[in-house]
């Protein structure tokens, strides 16, 4: 079964016909050749495919493209405004990767995570669940980024890279 859909990706409008089985991840990578979202596990366990979907971080491997007709997507490719995004720069400065495969997902997830914290969303790391403001200490960053795995184990540099942007 096929369906025609429109997706806005990194500010550009795309019309495409997809098999209903196509995930957003496969639509981006295989149809639109936007390869910054990575296919790691393809089962929602690793976070490498993280995108911003209508402003919220989401796993593109678990989202059917047909269900997100008309949606606005931001990938790691579309974060910077000509210049690298502050998080992209922080990852480089802190050497926050080895192989780099999880990095676009880490960075997009961090962008979404910082936005959630700014809106006062709580996490399991919070001491006071009803705190008006969230302070993104290292424990909070680790908990909120738990959905992004790095099999090289670069967490020791990923956390400081995110912290530099999250609490300037």
């Amino acid at each position: 079964m096929e369906a025609e859909i429109t997706l806005w990706v990194d500010g550009t409008r795309h019309r495409l016909v997809v098999d209903t089985r196509t995930t957003l991840l496969d639509a981006l990578r295989e149809r639109l050749r936007i390869t910054s979202p990575k296919k790691g596990c393809d089962h929602g366990q690793c976070g490498a495919c993280t995108i911003l979907l209508d402003g919220r971080r989401a796993l593109s491997c678990l989202a059917l493209a047909v269900a997100y007709q008309g949606s606005e997507i931001v990938t790691a490719d579309g974060l910077g405004d000509g210049e690298p995004h502050p998080l992209q720069r922080a990852f480089i400065e802190h050497d926050a990767f080895q192989c780099g495969y999880c990095t676009p997902g880490q960075i997009v997830s961090a962008v979404g995570m910082i936005r959630e914290a700014a809106e006062g969303w709580p996490s399991a790391a919070g001491k006071d669940q009803d705190a008006a403001e969230v302070v993104l200490d290292d424990e909070e960053i680790r908990e909120r980024m738990a959905g992004n795995l790095c099999r090289c184990g670069a967490y020791a540099n990923i956390v400081p890279a995110i912290a530099e942007v999250a609490r300037p």
């Binding site: 089962h43 993280t50 919220r56 997830s109 969303w121 669940q129 959905g147």
Partner: protein, 335 residues
């Protein structure tokens, strides 16, 4: 993945009507479990009716002081809701203890209640599993069952319900609103999920074509000091080995009222009715908490690989109640 037709419903009546025409169809909401099961070909619906925009995505106050949570409210929105955080902290904590930020942003309240077990054999179509393929046998009994049930299981199935949210809702006396081709039904959360018995393929009492439209939580003052404690193999992003949702009301050193539910131990969120009964009227003490936990767990029938869950559940119950009691004592001393 098997091919399927996709249709989007704009409201509840059209969603119910669309699925009524599809005997092998399924509702799709956030898809965080269903899409994965379709990839694994554990789920093979011939049609999907997308209900993400059909049901309410709002949390509303009820006249009695409770809350109505629309089925399309995401797990993130539910956990972040200020009223939920103040009146029902165990619910916010339970939701935040589950999955990851990315998953919670898509996963919905209705979908969370319908997620399937993460038993490895259920998810592996090359192995026997009575839940996936009725009558084929249970691979977990003599296989890997570290995460599986110690209470209420049957010779046919030892799967556990993976939800954290549902454990808090079980303790909260929540009720589930369903809309189906034959009308509306309202079912207590504690009766919504089933024990496996001889029909482990049925997780819940829901009939084909019935759609979860909302979950109501009643007002209950003691819930403002309720907790959810989860024990798992990793610090985060892992399913529960054992979890406990607890609330305690103490008057003059005696348990006036209590709510207790366990996760990770059974085919359904396990409301600890026996322990609650033992606790009401008992003096607040570690001994009475231990006795209540033991009474609840007397029916446990663990397997060799998950026998550790019995003392673990006992300890988590005792510590959760102990923390709540300490909080009460502190409050009484301050007064």
């Amino acid at each position: 993945m098997k091919p399927f037709r996709y249709e989007r419903a704009t409201d509840v009546p059209s969603a119910v009507a669309l699925l009524a025409e599809q005997p092998h169809g399924a509702f799709l909401a956030g898809g965080t479990n269903l899409v994965d099961l379709m990839k694994l070909e554990v789920a093979t619906p011939e049609a999907l009716v997308d209900v993400r925009r059909a049901t309410s995505d709002r949390i509303e106050e009820l006249p009695d002081g409770g809350l109505r949570i629309g089925a399309a409210v995401t797990n993130s929105e539910l956990a972040a809701d200020r009223t939920v955080r103040r009146r029902y902290p165990m619910l916010s904590q339970a939701v935040l203890a589950g999955a990851s930020g990315q998953v919670r942003n898509l996963a919905t309240t209705g979908g969370n209640l319908l997620q399937r077990t993460r038993c490895v054999y259920f998810q592996d179509t090359t192995t026997p599993c009575n839940k996936r393929d009725p009558g084929s046998g249970c691979s977990a009994l003599d296989g890997y069952h570290r995460e599986l049930a110690i209470l209420g299981s049957s010779p046919a199935c030892v799967a556990t319900n993976p939800s954290d949210m549902a454990v808090a809702l079980a303790a909260l006396d929540a009720v589930v609103h369903l809309q189906g081709p034959l009308g509306e039904r309202v079912i207590p959360l504690t009766e919504f999920h089933r024990l496996p018995g001889a029909e482990p393929e049925r997780d819940t009492v829901i009939e084909h074509g019935e759609l979860i439209t909302a979950v109501d939580v009643p007002p209950l003052a003691m819930m403002t000091r309720s907790t959810y404690r989860k024990v798992r193999d990793r610090a985060s992003y892992a399913f529960a080995l054992v979890s406990v949702a607890a609330a305690l009301e103490v008057t003059d050193g005696v348990v006036a009222d209590v709510r207790l539910a366990l996760g990770g131990v059974a085919h359904k969120p396990w409301r600890a009715w026996i322990a609650e009964e033992a606790l009401r009227g008992a003096r607040v003490s570690t001994e009475s908490f231990q006795a209540a936990a033991d009474a609840e767990l007397a029916a446990a029938r663990p397997l060799p690989g998950n026998a550790f869950k019995v003392p673990l559940a006992r300890n988590v119950i005792v510590h959760s109640l102990g923390d709540l009691a300490e909080f009460h004592q502190l409050g009484e001393e301050l007064r």
